[in-house]
């Protein structure tokens, strides 16, 4: 509970506060999703479809899951896919932006590829916006502002995955 969180709490109603706490994020986007859909609390629990690897803990359909450190979009696990699989009828973009996230279970940094799923309109569920090491559009490979439905049949954005593609180099 940092300073900004307290500010937000002070300024907003109890409903919003509940949302902010349940997502555990400062992000306005999560709050936005709640505002727009009128949902007070989403049940978000791990499911088999999420296909976690051994050596991972946490809820892959929660915005505070470790792989989502630089994501901006709808979590595919809430859209008929999983954190690393696209929903039926969509197409995974071949290129995207990358994040470097630390897995709390082993303390290692991994390169996460946030491939978008494309060809249907906005999933609309589980909007998640985190921006660790995100950079403006002039460094595209680190920019989550871009709709990465590029190189796909359609630029129509549906949701975002978070795929482990390797370990980060030691700095």
């Amino acid at each position: 509970m940092n300073w900004l969180m307290k500010q937000l709490d002070r300024m907003t109603e109890s409903k919003t506060r509940t949302v902010a706490q349940s997502t555990g994020r400062r992000s306005f986007m999560g709050r936005l999703a709640m505002t727009l859909t009128g949902v007070s609390a989403l049940p978000l629990l791990p499911v088999a479809r999420a296909q976690q690897q051994p050596g991972e803990t946490g809820d892959p359909n929660s915005c505070d899951y470790w792989r989502y450190c630089a994501i901006d979009g709808f979590l595919c696990g809430c859209c008929g896919g999983s954190m690393n699989t696209c929903p039926p009828g969509t197409e995974m973009s071949p290129m995207t932006w990358l994040g470097t996230c630390q897995n709390p279970a082993d303390g290692k940094n991994y390169i996460i590829s946030y491939n978008d799923c494309c060809g249907k309109t906005s999933c609309g569920a589980c909007l998640c916006n985190r921006n660790e090491a995100d950079r403006p559009v002039y460094r595209p490979q680190a920019a989550n502002d871009i709709n990465w439905c590029i190189g796909t049949k359609h630029l129509t954005y549906n949701c975002s995955t978070a795929i482990v593609v390797g370990t980060a180099l030691e700095q």
Partner: protein, 382 residues
């Protein structure tokens, strides 16, 4: 090198489950079964505030969490009308596009989706661009002839039905239904429409989609004072039409022409002033029991108000068998198609979907937050 040594060190203290995560495959896309499980539903989100971006969500109404509930989505433009096949793994969307979204050149089209991939696999152009546009109506999109033909309601404001052959994926033509609307499956290869004159109009088709015969009933629908609702519940080939003031009117659609049957009252006890109403207000389950959405203190104009109870009837006895109070007032009801333990889905006034055990009326869960805006109508999956 340092990485490798560290990894080795960790392994000596930990189980294999804590080894380094492995790179994962890119490009994976899920698919769905050809036959959807009995408690899956298709949610028509007409997106009344953003009609260009309509959706059909595939939802598992048995699941407890959102990620488990949502199975996928496909688009449907401009308050489409929709249907599903039970004999082919297909779903159908009659919809409208413009070359510039909200404007430009119009194309009406029947789009065919594969249930396994939720991908559009084909389309049939509806060449007259006169498709009915309005609140969703399941009888604006009617399968007949063992699902070989589909009838799509047109209103511009002259009314007709477009006939499409779904096996050949071919537009066959248009049947005019002057003064009448919608299509209820009738006889071997025909339909009945409901008319402004208080009558009904039945047509049998030839195999090529042309008209073979037609017939009209007497005028029996008192549209001024106690009109029939336009969306009947079907039990076998009998259509059950509620009326605004609370009657039920049976119409036999088994032969080539509609035959008007019994009229009885939905009110059967401590229910003065109650009326049927809503957006989808009359359905039947696989065992042929009738479900009617009802609200109290009816008045002129209450026929679209949300209901707060669902009333069940046995059509054999024409008696009410149960009253299910709703947790939250509802706009539309839906039923899954299984005989064993059907679910009742209610689109509530907060635009969430309340799931009930259909027979007992027990509230089970609410499905919401899946991206829906105005999920006006829900259909049990086939």
């Amino acid at each position: 090198m340092k990485n490798i040594l560290l990894a080795g060190a960790i392994l000596t203290f930990a189980t294999a489950a804590q080894a380094e995560l492995q790179p994962e495959q890119l490009g994976k896309v899920l698919t769905l079964p050809e036959k959807y499980p009995p408690h899956w539903i298709i949610v028509h989100d007409a997106t009344f505030f953003h009609m260009l971006d309509g959706r059909q969500y595939v939802i598992d109404a048995d699941a407890e969490t959102l990620p488990e509930q949502v199975k996928g989505m496909f688009n449907s433009s401009f308050i489409a009308t929709v249907n599903q096949s039970s004999v082919r793994p297909e779903m159908y969307v009659a919809e409208t596009y413009y070359t510039r979204g909200s404007r430009g050149t119009r194309t009406d089209v029947l789009t065919i989706y594969d249930k396994r991939t939720l991908e559009p696999v084909d389309e049939v152009i509806l060449p007259n661009n006169n498709r009915y546009s309005g609140m969703p109506n399941q009888y604006a999109h009617t399968l007949i002839d063992n699902e070989r033909l589909v009838l799509i309601f047109n209103l511009n404001p002259a009314t007709s039905l477009s006939v499409v052959d779904l096996e050949e994926r071919k537009y066959l033509g248009e049947i005019p239904i002057p003064g009448c609307s919608l299509a209820f499956p009738t006889g071997e290869r025909g339909f009945t429409s409901i008319c402004a004159g208080g009558d009904m109009y039945s047509v049998q088709l030839n195999a090529d989609g042309t008209m073979a015969s037609s017939a009209r009933t007497e005028s029996f629908n008192d549209i001024d004072n106690n009109p029939l609702f336009e969306k009947p519940a079907m039990v076998g080939s009998t259509a059950y039409f509620p009326t605004f003031l609370g009657d039920m009117v049976e119409v036999d659609l088994s032969g080539p022409a509609a035959k008007v049957g019994e009229r009885w009252s939905l009110r059967q006890g401590d229910d003065d002033g109650w009326r049927p109403g809503g957006m989808t207000y009359a359905l039947s389950d696989a065992e042929g029991q009738l479900y009617v959405l009802a609200h109290p203190a009816g008045y002129d104009g209450s026929h679209k108000d949300p209901g707060i109870e669902v009333w069940l009837y046995d059509p054999a006895t024409r008696k009410r068998t149960a009253r299910h109070p709703l947790k939250t007032p509802g706009l539309s009801i839906a039923l899954t198609r299984d005989a064993e333990a059907p679910l009742m889905i209610v689109t509530n006034i907060e635009m969430g979907l309340d799931v009930y055990d259909a027979k007992s009326g027990k509230y089970l869960r609410t499905v919401t937050g899946f991206g829906q805006e105005t999920p006006f109508v829900v259909h049990g999956a086939r």
